[in-house]
Assembly symmetry: C2
Homo-oligomer: 340 residues x 2
Amino acid sequence: MAVTIKDIARLANVSVTTVSRVINNKPEGVSEETRQKILKLVKELGYQPNAIARGLVTKKTKTIGLIIPDISNPFFPDIARGVEDSAHIYGYNVFLCNTDDNLEKESEYIRALKEKYVDGIIFTSSVPSDYQHIMELVRDGVPIVMMDRRMESEEIYGVFIDNYEGGYLATKHLIDLGHRKIGCITGPLKVKNARERLEGYKRALLDNGIEVDERLIFEGDYKINSGIIGTEKLLNDNKDITAIFACNDLMAYGAYKTIRSYGYKIPDDISVVGFDDILLSQIMEPQLTTIRQPAYDMGLTAARMLIKLIEGKKVSKKIIIFKPQLVIRQSTASVDEGVF
Amino acid sequence: MAVTIKDIARLANVSVTTVSRVINNKPEGVSEETRQKILKLVKELGYQPNAIARGLVTKKTKTIGLIIPDISNPFFPDIARGVEDSAHIYGYNVFLCNTDDNLEKESEYIRALKEKYVDGIIFTSSVPSDYQHIMELVRDGVPIVMMDRRMESEEIYGVFIDNYEGGYLATKHLIDLGHRKIGCITGPLKVKNARERLEGYKRALLDNGIEVDERLIFEGDYKINSGIIGTEKLLNDNKDITAIFACNDLMAYGAYKTIRSYGYKIPDDISVVGFDDILLSQIMEPQLTTIRQPAYDMGLTAARMLIKLIEGKKVSKKIIIFKPQLVIRQSTASVDEGVF
DNA sequence: GTGAAAGCGCTAACAT
DNA sequence: ATGTTAGCGCTTTCAC
């Protein structure tokens, strides 16, 4: 049997109230003498407060939930690490939940997290627009912060990256290099960030007097394989294509594979730009030019925001938007004019 | 205010006991009629049991802790995913804890997890041999399962890979290809798995009549940079080296970089073998020959084992050892005899 | 400065 | 088949 507050109280000849005051560092109403006596006993007996009992009365558990699609997708570990680091600093623990973008699993996790009285939840999931269970959380007063997945509602706090600008930057970079026939392999278009990146791509084209050609757009799913297939389709349908913007690095890697198998060289024949800047992008050869998302910082920020919300502190902005950054490496080159 | 068991009881004109019986699916002692009445109310009011209150009395929280060095190290996400999947199946949630192999952080997490009354803990950490706080957990009766980090104690459950055999396989493969001067970049030797891989390397050498040459061994730390530095040292000190066994894939990648910068070709001039088989190893060029660890399965297995322990079920084996597997890709080739 | 008592929401003997 | 009661370990009024 673990030692409880009662044990300490009995041994110190004081009430549990007094012990409670000491272990919670309440400054008032305990003489230095008794405080020391209690602290001594706490140490000797290795007393650890029971967070469950405490949680039952305070309704606070110092626990948050992190809901992501899949921790083994290389984009998420950095986010998770940021969230966890932030949480740890403030004395919180984090429940890891993988939904595989499955609405049902997401609901299950939400239910479980509510039953366990987490103090708040961070969502980094890319589920379509069925936000019902999320709005329900808001209504129930559970603090939540969205990441990556933008909500329409003004009610909701979140940290995001400017996906539109990311798509724009990537495309603009290619245009500046002289490319005109630029393929785009998008994420799943039911996901908002995928639509935004695509919008950025289109706008950059338009701003530079290039028409949007639907045959140059392929809807992928952010996984390697769709990069492979998408590039095949793009290459087959557009003989004059000189560049591909893959809307994440994993698909860019898929694009590499196909481009190679067609006997083309990167970037000599085809330039490629990715999105995310995961470790992979530095390891691929040639190293991938990509749009950097500061995943770790975003995780850090989201958790900090959530905890402020939980603790009733002022949160200056409801929405924090990080700026994407173009990282130029070796997968992009200017169009060799001789080609034309 | 959330709806409680009392509310349901009142509205159903029954006692809380009866409600408790129903929501916990106790088969005995509730008429079908009242059961239905209660279930209906539960649904209507959206009643969710308070897991904190339940935990306080049952001393079970349906929660486990996962302690790893760093989720952003590419080796751990798959493990974490396996653990979480397993946990989810059995109705458990998992706390993610990153220690950075820092003993102090590990202790902090253990304390926090104990305060939160997790039902058990999985350790995948590579801290040196200060096992005191772990033995303390065992003494306290907290079920724990070790992964990757082998304990001397017979008391402790765990799932591991045969690191010795992995090291042996890697080295033997190189020897079979005709290599004689084989460098080895180890993990941090305070970590047991690092020592075991090195042992496998040495034994394979010895078994094939090759002397162990300490100048061919460099102690790294499982990070990219030590692969870079280690290879520089190895290459400088041993002009006739033809192969390198990097004790994980990240260091193998570092080795690639150095080998390239010296103007050598892989595998023509230098063969490289890694360890882990993370996604990276397929993306590197040439694709890395490596020793595969079934990380996801190991996570799955560890969590299943832990939960059996928690629930008092029979666990057939205290220690489960997975077999490593040599995955031959393109970074190894037979020694060009012309070299000699 | 300190303590008594109530109660958080639930489970589990023990009655009936 | 159902209810009464005690109590899990803690915090929190309120009183002294």
